[in-house]
């Protein structure tokens, strides 16, 4: 029998800026639906280098975040692998590096980062109004996305 993979479910975002907090809302729902000991659910508003510390020590990570694409419809859920962000790696004029750069740095430095990372991204509309509520289309996606993650966690634990 294989050993259970230590898994982190991580909701990203800002819970007081409307749709930006959607990742956190999903993580909170997942928290109430899973009971596997090997699964930890966390939420954070960190990005870049700050994520390295949180991810260290897990075999697998499922990250939930907001996304805005050119033609996206509010509430659409995407499934991404971190490699998908290779094209966007760059230094930017903000206070931190992007996620893939941070991951690559962590790997080069030999940090114990998850071997498997998947990202659930939810298409959002409003990321600039202070509010503890998501917009309606995005709100509807929260239980759907949480359900997908829970099914994935359950099937991983059944396959042991």
């Amino acid at each position: 029998m294989k050993e259970a993979m230590k898994t982190l479910v991580l909701g990203l975002g800002n819970p007081i800026v409307s749709d930006d907090g959607v990742g956190i809302r999903v993580a909170q729902q997942v928290q109430g639906m899973v009971d596997q000991r090997e699964v930890t659910v966390e939420e954070t508003c960190l990005s870049g280098l700050g994520l390295l510390d949180i991810l260290t020590g897990y075999d697998k990570a499922i990250i939930i975040d907001a996304i805005q694409t050119a033609e996206g419809k509010a509430g659409q859920i995407y499934r991404l692998e971190p490699e998908a962000f290779n094209a966007t790696r760059n230094v930017c004029s903000t206070h931190d590096v992007n996620f893939i750069t941070a991951l690559e740095l962590g790997n080069r430095l030999g940090m114990a980062l998850p071997r498997q990372i998947s990202i659930f991204a939810i298409e959002v509309t409003d990321t600039s109004t202070f509010s503890e509520e998501c917009t309606p289309g995005v709100r509807e996606a929260i239980p759907v996305c949480a359900g997908m993650i829970v099914r994935e966690l359950n099937s991983a634990s059944r396959s042991l």
Partner: protein, 501 residues
């Protein structure tokens, strides 16, 4: 030059934008920085108990939660007229030194260093922290990550939560630290002092020893004669957590020194139709437009400003570096915008030394960390030096302590006039006669802005997980000539996604 009206819709795309307007000759006529602003914060806060503010305000952005927590806790102290006991003040300052280190280290190594280690016009694919680590060695990357984690551990232990501190209450702190924690912090502080020294040595070797870079720093393109504002202690030394606000003129002469609660007598805000951000200026000098010099009320905050307003640093190693800084750059005040980076490294060393002092303070483990408020709450102002500069929180409450009015002036807004001017000056100095602006050239324009370490408090977390910035060049008819985008959320980017729902 044709007049361009910027459509309000395009202003709200959720990303920062630098717009450069050329004249008929193809020279730069004007340049503007646009930063999106989050909406509705005051309304969000009204009706909440003031003691919730130190827990809400760190959520404003993921970059400076510690700064908002401290400014907010201090404002809440003032609202309740509850002065924290000495041990609580020291504990807050200890926490805050760790916060400063955490923030400055990320900015220098991840964002500033690539321009100097790889070069301002090097291949953008390499010009990032991975390139820095590739060039300087993995062990440098390891040291950066390790010391950032030390600073984070200290913040988390005192703050009570890894990212959003919850330790500050009106009148003090929620809990003291144990002797075991103190010992752990002390060990980490010692290591951080060494790391602070290392950063300055690295800056010497990489930047100061390179004549080209030194010329770039002291050159006219990145220079601006402004007023400066920052917190100083009773000896006029730099202090991040507390003190009076001091203002010096472009000659370095003190023109104001006041209690933070009196800020409205000294700071006013100008508005421009093309910007969501306001343009703070010194009331006593007045708003003369986006111009520098003694007659213009434009002032700057952040690391360089803190050093310029102070008479020195309160710790020995940082003081020696402070003296060397002014000797090298030709005396006080220094107007070189790129010197913000060097000043930041001196501040890392100061913060580490001060951290160590506080860890060795006899009172630091005292259980006396709270003054229980007994008077009726009304109004209060709290000010700290955020990593990016002076941060003001001002609350008014009813007699039950329920928020009626909130006013926040954040450091990035204070630097908004200066950032616009620095960008314009760099663009004018670098882009000539309509020549095709290369990515490297535009990066050098961005360097003028990056030096201020601005925090664009928009949706920092929306994927792809980094703050987007766009540089647009328009010709004299207003047509877009060139666009340089960095990870714009609103742009289609080449990501293969699978829509699963």
């Amino acid at each position: 030059m044709n007049k361009i009206t910027i459509d309000p819709i395009t202003r709200l795309e959720g990303h920062g934008k630098i717009e450069i307007f050329l004249d008929d000759e193809g020279d730069v006529a004007n340049a503007y920085l646009q930063i999106p602003e989050l909406r509705g914060f005051e309304k969000f806060c009204e009706g909440r108990p003031v003691e919730e503010m130190p827990r809400i305000t760190p959520r404003i952005c993921g970059v400076c939660p510690g700064a908002h927590h401290m400014a907010s806790s201090k404002a809440a102290d003032a609202v309740y007229h509850a002065e924290p006991p000495p041990a609580a003040r020291k504990l807050r300052e200890l926490f805050y030194c760790a916060h400063m280190i955490h923030s400055h280290v990320a900015h220098f190594y991840a964002l500033a260093a690539p321009d100097f280690v790889l070069g301002p016009t090097s291949d953008p694919a390499e010009r990032n922290i991975l390139g820095v680590v590739a060039k300087l060695g993995l062990e440098v990357g390891g040291e950066v990550i390790k010391h950032r984690a030390y600073a984070q551990d200290i913040q988390a232990a005192i703050g009570g939560k890894a990212t959003h501190p919850v330790c500050g209450l009106p009148g003090g702190m929620s809990k003291p630290i144990t002797e075991e924690e103190r010992k752990d912090f002390e060990d980490k502080a010692k290591s951080l002092v060494e790391f602070g020294k290392f950063g300055l040595k690295l800056f010497d070797e990489l930047v100061l020893a390179n004549k080209e870079y030194l010329d770039l720093i002291v050159g006219d393109v990145y220079s601006m004669n402004s007023y400066y504002m920052g917190l100083v202690d009773s000896d006029n030394k730099v202090n991040f957590y507390d003190g009076d606000i001091r203002v010096v003129d472009p000659d370095g002469k003190e023109v104001a020194r006041f209690r933070p609660a009196d800020y409205l007598e000294y700071i006013a805000e100008h508005t421009e139709p093309w910007s969501y951000l306001k343009f703070p200026f010194l009331k006593q000098v007045g708003w003369k437009g986006l111009v520098d010099g003694k007659d213009s009320g434009v002032y700057r905050v952040n690391s360089l400003a803190r050093l310029n307003v102070a008479d020195g640093m309160a710790t020995p190693l940082a003081q020696a570096e402070y003296e060397r800084f002014y000797e090298t750059l030709g005396g006080k005040p220094v107007h070189a915008t790129l010197a913000f980076h060097w000043a930041r490294l001196i501040e890392i060393l100061y913060a580490a030394e001060r951290l160590l002092e506080l860890c060795q303070d006899d009172e630091i483990t005292s259980p006396e960390v709270r003054t229980i408020p007994t008077s009726t709450p009304d109004e209060g102002v709290g000010v700290v030096e955020a990593p990016r500069g002076v941060l003001i929180h001002h609350y008014q409450t009813d007699e039950k302590g329920i928020i009626q009015k909130v006013n926040l002036i954040v450091a990035t807004v204070m630097n908004n006039p200066a950032m616009n001017m620095s960008i314009k000056k760099a663009a004018q100095g670098l882009i000539k006669k309509g020549q095709a602006a290369s990515e490297g050239l535009l990066n050098m324009v961005e360097m003028a802005f990056r030096a201020y370490d601005p925090c664009m408090a928009c949706a920092t977390h929306a994927l792809p997980g980094q703050m987007p910035l766009e540089v647009v060049i328009r010709d004299s008819s207003g047509e877009v000539k060139e666009t340089l985008s960095r990870n714009l959320c609103s742009e289609p980017h080449p990501i293969k996604v699978r829509v699963v729902h």
